[in-house]
């Protein structure tokens, strides 16, 4: 069900779609990750980063109020230790480059396999 790479790893999930957020929470929790918080926009992502200090943040890109990439930029300025995995509906090379420039460890497109998602979050 889980491995040492995933067990207890503290993650935060930020996506504006309730259904996606709930399913990610359930799947990743079932796999052994410790989902310590969820949010629905970039502002909440910044607050959650400060309050919960997670190891990994799984961020959607297009969200109301503040997008995931801009949130990552702001969080990076506050805390360089948090890893970002971007999970976007857009398979777009410019967004991928921007995510890399921000230091995001992985850019995944929604619909990717759960194995890829787990690997992206679990890698150190």
């Amino acid at each position: 069900m889980s491995s040492s790479a995933t067990t207890g790893r503290r993650i935060v999930i930020v996506d504006d779609d309730d259904n996606v957020r709930t399913t990610l929470c359930s799947s990743l929790g079932e796999y052994g990750f410790d989902v310590v918080g969820t949010g629905s926009d970039g502002f909440e992502a910044v607050l959650l980063a400060v309050e919960l200090n997670p190891e990994v943040m799984l961020l959607d890109v297009r969200m109301p109020r503040l997008g995931g990439l801009e949130a990552a930029r702001r969080i990076r300025a506050l805390d360089a230790s948090i890893r970002f995995v971007i999970l976007s509906a857009y398979d777009d090379s410019t967004l991928q480059q921007e995510a890399r420039d921000l230091g995001a460890s992985r850019f995944l497109v929604k619909g990717c396999s759960f194995t890829d998602l787990v690997e992206a979050i679990a890698e150190r």
Binding site: T23, S26, S27, E30, Y90, F114
Partner: protein, 284 residues
């Protein structure tokens, strides 16, 4: 001597009169020329205005199309893509459970996935209809408006009445599409903002114009000075859609008086659009 003087004097006077006559004729010709030039200049001015108006309409049409593409992209992003993401995740989760021999919840999970897929098919079907209502192609604007009212208002407490005197008459596709979208915008506005109990849609035509009225008994509103704001973008959308086919819209509303949209669509524009002939109002 005197005779010779008189002879030359008369000749000279005749010559002067002839010159004066020629000068007068020249002045008349000059005035006519100036007048003609003014007419030409005015005609050129009107031509330029007409060119600018066509350019403006084209720009507006492009703006509307771009706006619709943005909306469609947003709908795809927020709807089917997210829900298919959920389905993919649930399938992966289910695969994991089956692999681990945890079969107790599989049936419920499959039912949930099935429900999500059905929901997405409904959503995609709705978007497809929104892009091009099939009723318009099949049965024309009159039937299309009945369907539209049903789809926009059926889950509200509003009572509605669609009255059409055009029978099964058909118009050029662009005319029917604009009429449909204008009606949709107005009905959605009524549904969202009017706090009305009754709304009626009236469709009539005369020799060269299709008349569409959407009227509700809601709270009305103060007509904005400008429609180029987010709050009144629907109103702008109606005006621009109509302008794109040379139509117009009169909006009658004030606080407490309900709202009445009167749209006029010149259906005889069809020859200019290269569609049907000028007598293409066909009963089918």
């Amino acid at each position: 001597m005197l005779g010779a003087f008189l002879f030359f004097f008369r000749r000279s006077r005749q010559a002067m009169r002839a010159k004066q006559g020629a000068l007068a004729a020249s002045e008349v010709a000059h005035e006519a020329l100036v007048e003609r030039q003014q007419e030409l200049s005015q005609a050129l001015g009107r031509l330029e205005e007409s060119r600018q108006e066509r350019e403006r309409l084209l720009e507006r049409t492009v703006e509307i199309a771009e706006h619709e593409r943005i909306n469609l992209a947003g709908d795809l992003h927020d709807g089917p893509i997210q829900q298919l993401t959920v389905v993919a995740l649930m399938l992966d989760q289910l695969t994991g459970r089956i692999g681990r021999g945890e079969l107790d919840q599989t049936q419920a999970a499959i039912a949930q996935i099935r429900e999500n897929v059905s929901g997405q098919m409904t959503s995609l079907r709705g978007m497809m209809v929104e892009l091009r209502p099939p009723m318009l192609d099949e049965r024309g604007i009159s039937a299309g408006l009945h369907d539209l009212a049903e789809s926009v208002l059926s889950d509200t407490r509003l009572t509605w009445d669609v009255r059409s005197t055009i029978g099964n008459a058909r118009f050029a596709p662009e005319i029917e599409t604009v009429a449909y979208r204008v009606a949709r915008e107005a009905l959605v506005n009524t549904r969202k903002h009017a706090e009305a109990t009754d709304v009626e849609v009236i469709l009539e035509h005369d020799r060269d114009t299709l008349h569409l009225v959407i009227a509700d008994n809601g709270k009305g509103f103060t007509r904005p000075e400008t429609t180029r704001t987010g709050e009144h973008s629907g109103l702008l959308g109606i005006e621009e859609r109509l302008a794109s086919i040379g139509g117009t819209c009169a909006l009658h509303t004030a606080p407490g008086t309900g709202t009445r949209w009167e749209a006029s669509l010149p259906w005889k524009l069809q020859p200019a659009h290269g569609r049907l002939d000028g007598h293409s109002l066909v009963a089918v």
